[in-house]
């Protein structure tokens, strides 16, 4: 047997979807759905908790604000944009999901994401794991020293920190310096062998930005600004973020 039919109320004048439409270029095309199902048929989140992309959009269009804003599915859609890519009308479902995330009271958003975002806001490294400027510099120098000694071909290898005017500013996910520092080395080796002019920065080195996943606009903007400033202060030309 199918699911029970959804009961429809009269559509209210200002709904969640209208607010999102006002925020997006072309209103995110949110009114143009043909209900073809291309989005949900190619979405790995389809069916999790009985929700899918097309259903989510239809419910929004019908003004079922409470249901969609409370649905934990907004944390199961990864905002990967495959649905827009295949949608004949380029409907921006992931942005709808983003703003639905934003409508959750901040302290009720998933603890892991919240904790990682708040941690990153705590100091200028932007590390979601709380690694400080000193921690990072110490680990990089320590690991570099060890490899220079143990591997003769790399005795001149560098892993510069705060090198003024380097061409590339390289970000690093916190996981390596904090939990598996040896994993930084292959990348250093490649950069060394191709003769790249690069640097890390003690400020803004962490690649991750959980505040964006949290849909906390103020916070993720702050994180991006701290990192961009770090790149500019060192006068680097290219900012490489491997996330």
């Amino acid at each position: 047997m199918g699911e029970p039919a959804i009961k429809l109320g009269t559509k209210r004048s200002s709904t969640f979807i209208d607010k999102v439409k006002d925020l997006l270029p072309e209103g995110g095309n949110l009114d143009l759905c043909l209900t073809c199902g291309a989005c949900s048929s190619g979405c790995p989140a389809t069916g999790i908790g009985g929700m899918d992309a097309r259903k989510f959009l239809r419910m929004a269009a019908l003004g079922m604000d409470e249901e969609i804003q409370q649905s934990p599915w907004v944390w199961h859609c990864t905002m990967c944009q495959r649905c827009i890519y295949v949608c004949p009308m380029q409907i921006n479902i992931p942005q709808l999901v983003f703003y639905a995330r934003q409508s959750w009271p901040r302290d009720q958003r998933p603890k892991g994401i919240l904790g990682s975002c708040d941690m990153a806001l705590r100091n200028d490294t932007c590390s979601a794991m709380g690694a400080t400027e000193e921690d990072f510099e110490f680990v990089v120098e320590d690991v570099l020293e060890e490899y220079r000694e143990a591997q003769p071909e790399f005795k001149d290898m560098e892993a510069p920190v705060n090198k003024q005017g380097a061409y590339y500013f390289l970000n690093q996910n916190s996981r390596e310096p904090v939990t598996e520092p040896d994993e930084m080395v292959p990348l250093w080796k490649i950069l060394h062998l191709v003769g790249a002019d690069w640097t890390y920065g003690t400020k803004g080195w962490a690649a991750e930005n959980y505040c964006m996943f949290m849909a906390d606009d103020e916070a993720w903007k702050h994180i991006v600004e701290v990192k961009a400033k770090a790149v500019e202060d060192l006068g680097c030309k290219v900012w490489l973020n491997t996330e």
Binding site: E153, V185, I190
Partner: protein
């Protein structure tokens, strides 16, 4: 870089196109660059693409904060599409050129008792250059733990 180390071993590789890098940023051209590098590292005959791929690839389920959001069951349910794609290639290794992808694809393999290994691209580039040392092989399987060892 040379794929010579894999000429006789014939270890098979597939690659995960990260949504962030490919679909959401640079599109199919960067997916081609990625394949160019991968084929030169592992040998063209040892590369098997998953389907769908490039800009049309499925997200692995590690993105959007899913890894940290405290919904492991739902995350693994999401990842089933990815696991099936990888299994269908029959590859021994899935190369993941993104952090989130690495963590998620590794977890998807772990809960299935490792039908494939999950490896960073930088590891394989160094392997093919002959400069990958002993302590940089965390994510290589037993089959490659000693292959083309630096300094040996």
């Amino acid at each position: 870089m040379t794929p010579d180390w894999n000429k006789d071993l014939k270890v098979k590789f597939t690659v995960q196109d990260p949504c962030q890098l490919v679909r959401k940023s640079f599109g199919d051209p960067v997916a081609e660059d990625l394949r160019y590098v991968v084929k030169n590292v592992v040998g063209e005959e040892n590369f098997i693409d998953m389907s769908p791929n490039r800009s049309n690839n499925y997200c692995c389920g590690g993105g959007g904060g899913f890894l940290q959001s405290g919904y492991p069951e739902e995350r693994r349910q999401y990842g089933e599409a990815k696991a099936n794609q990888i299994l269908a290639t029959g590859a021994d290794y899935c190369i993941t050129p993104c952090h989130n992808c690495h963590a998620q694809v590794h977890d998807l393999s772990e809960i299935r008792e490792h039908p494939w290994q999950t490896v960073h691209l930088w590891t394989l580039i160094c392997l093919s250059l002959g400069v990958l040392g002993e302590n940089e092989r965390e994510y290589l399987g037993e089959d490659l733990k000693n292959v083309a060892m630096y300094g040996a």
